[in-house]
Amino acid sequence: MAANEVTVSLNGVSKSFGEFTAVKKLSLSVRAGRVFGLLGPNGAGKTTTIRMIVNITAPDSGNILLFGRKFDARLQDRIGYLPEERGLYRRMRISDQLRFFAEIRNVRGKLIESKIDEWLARVKLSEWKHKRSMELSKGMQQKIQFITSVIHDPDLLILDEPFSGLDPINVELLKDIVLDLKRAGKTIIFSTHQMEIAEKICDDICLLNRSQKIFEGTLREIKSSFGRNAVAVRCEGGDGVLDDPVLVSKVVRHADEAQALLAAGADAQTLLKRLIDSGAVIGKFEMMEPSLNDIFITKVTEAA
């Protein structure tokens, strides 16, 4: 797959429900073989955008191209979709369930069994194969739901809040699978409001707020555009300095460390000097890129 091939493109797409505008003139393009993060606070229009991509709702205006053409039923088998609202047939055995989802995506019969075993092993649920889904814990069910979206080996995988409700170990597991799929040349779109995860796996991001795009580009671009304007500080004393709004626009205190976002016009040298002057004992003072979370919050507040 060529590096610049576009898998999904939206051109001036709008959608409203009655009075409420869910998505407003949104254009974006998702390049093949990359992980694309659709980020934004609740109600920003992420789910509506995704639903339009998978043709569950139709846009009011604008158009959407998948693999360079308009949506048609044959494309369905090349797309894997894990919606935010997801479930399983409660009384069905896991193996039957996965077989059903493979069958409705036209996976050939002989392949299905091996696919099921392969994926169950990968999410460490092999011994649950013959159990009914109502017997599984919520986290286990979520992993099964994930399998339903990838069992047919789709070229485009769309995940709506895939990590919500998972414990850290399973978040890690799922993250690795997503990265593996990317390495295998799949295109992945996912939405989340958990920035820490997005930061770790996204190549490209699109920030949505109040139904409008406020940023689209590579993760690198957005980070460098913000510059190194954050400082990680570990020190004893000198607390008042970090709270000075002339120097620091925002400070987040962790257990033994604080992250300070420099205010516009302030520089790190001044901050360091002020800290030393105030008599603080400095254990760590490190310039760092702003976290995606900080960028997100800044962008959203700017837009508002």
Binding site: Q76, I79, Y89, M92, F100
Partner: protein, 437 residues
């Protein structure tokens, strides 16, 4: 096509394998036979005969009444169900021991006081006073402890009726032979005039139509709710959205309907086979005792029509349930909204009466074309006065087209409604949803 088959397969296998299905398949016939047997058992419980004193002031009625009560109801028309029931109950519930009480110089009041006393100490269950002018006025009084015993009272009344009729005829000097002649029941044989000439028809065809209608009615009542549940299932379990990214709502709907229908047909086939085996056994048993049962002579083509109209009836109502299912979020909610469908079903079922009476009327024509009433109405017409082929074909065509149309509308409503969790669609909303997307 593969997708459709996958849905059909899932619906069918999941349901047929479920415990509910197995239990219901075995239990329902058992329950029905119990409903048939238990009332008969209850009615056959013998109660002691009622002891009744009769004050016959006419002096002529006592003997007649006694005869009338003891005689079987053989002089009533055999097809009269009410009398059959009474005849049955006379053997079981309402038998009497009569005792004649004469006034012999005492006043009526004295005798009654005496009888009341006996009633109180339970030597007697009731007493009957026939006044002197009973035969002309036809009024009598039956005093008893239990006026709620309508069976005994009814038996007494009809016995008195027969007795007084007999006595009046005797007094009109009608001889025995003429009297017997007068009460001889008549036999009415329905003869059907068909294209092949005259043939005897003992109402078995009508029973057949009734049977088809009834089975259809029952299976809709049973499976309609299941179709509804199946349509709502993905909404309740939140699977719908996953499905819709890979399958068209119409395919999903169709698959569900076909899957559930195959389950219904499987169950009906099991019951049908069991019933046929049972019936065959019964017929053989009767045949060995010299009783033969004639199966009505119906052309093979008609059986094919019956099958087609049965399927039409099933599918038209099943899709109506699917439509309801597409509008609601839970099966319980759907149950309430499905009431009009049941009403429509009941009305269509009873149309067999007017249609059967005048099968070639314009009314019969129209109801046999309208999809919801066609299945019963057209079958009645086919059996009574077979309409021209084009009418049958038209009825089937319109019917099955409506099935597809309703399903299409339902799938559109479903598609939009699925995204509105936890909210039932109002009718105008449903119409709007069907239009958009």
């Amino acid at each position: 096509m593969r997708k459709l088959l996958a849905v059909v397969k899932r619906e069918y296998i999941q349901r047929v394998r479920s415990k509910m299905f197995i239990v219901l398949t075995v239990l329902l016939p058992t329950a029905i036979s119990l409903f048939g047997i238990v009332p008969a058992l209850v009615l056959s419980i013998r109660t002691p005969p009622l002891r009744v004193a009769v004050i016959d002031q006419t002096g002529k009625m006592y003997v007649q009444l006694r005869q009338s009560l003891n005689r079987d109801s053989s002089d009533d028309a055999p097809s009269d169900n009410v009398n059959q029931l009474r005849g049955f109950s006379r053997r079981g519930l309402g038998s009497f021991v009569l005792e004649e009480v004469t006034l012999s110089n005492q006043s009526l009041e004295q005798v009654r006081a005496n009888l009341d006393q006996r009633l109180r100490v339970r030597e007697l269950d009731g007493y009957l006073i026939l006044p002197p002018d009973f035969l002309s006025e036809g009024k009598a009084e039956f005093f008893n402890r239990n006026p709620g015993d309508i069976v005994s009272q009814g038996t007494m009344q009809s016995a008195l009726n027969r007795a007084s009729r007999e006595q009046r005829l005797i007094e009109a000097k009608v001889d025995d032979k003429t009297r017997k002649q007068l009460f001889k029941p008549i036999e009415l044989v329905g003869v059907r005039v068909g294209a092949t000439g005259q043939e005897r028809d003992s109402g078995a065809t009508f029973a057949l139509v009734f049977g088809i209608g009834f089975v259809m009615y029952l299976s809709i009542l049973m499976y309609g709710q299941i179709v509804l549940g199946a349509v709502v299932e993905e909404k309740e379990t939140r699977i719908a959205e996953i499905l819709f990214s890979s399958i068209r709502p119409f395919t999903l709907m169709l698959g569900k309907l076909v899957g559930v229908s195959l389950v219904a047909l499987t169950q009906l086939a099991i019951w049908g086979l069991a019933f046929s085996a049972f019936a065959l056994y019964g017929v053989n048993l009767l045949a060995s005792r010299g009783i033969t049962i004639r199966v009505p002579g119906i052309p093979l083509l008609h059986y094919i029509y019956f099958g087609l109209f049965f399927l039409l009836g099933y599918f038209i109502y099943a899709t109506a349930y699917a439509l309801v299912g597409s509008m609601v979020t839970t099966a319980q909610e759907g149950g309430q909204l499905a009431m009009p469908i049941i009403l429509l079903l009941v009305v269509s079922f009873y149309l067999f009466l007017p249609v059967g009476r005048s099968p070639d009327s314009p009314f019969a024509f129209w109801v046999s074309i309208i999809p919801f009433s066609a299945p019963v109405a057209m079958v009645v017409r086919i059996v009574t006065q077979t309409p021209p082929f084009w009418q049958i074909a038209l009825s089937l065509f319109i019917g099955f087209s409506s099935v597809l149309l309703i399903m299409w509308i339902a799938s559109r409503i479903y598609r939009v409604g699925m995204l509105m969790y936890g909210k039932r669609a109002s009718i105008p909303e449903a119409i709007r949803w069907a239009r958009q997307s």
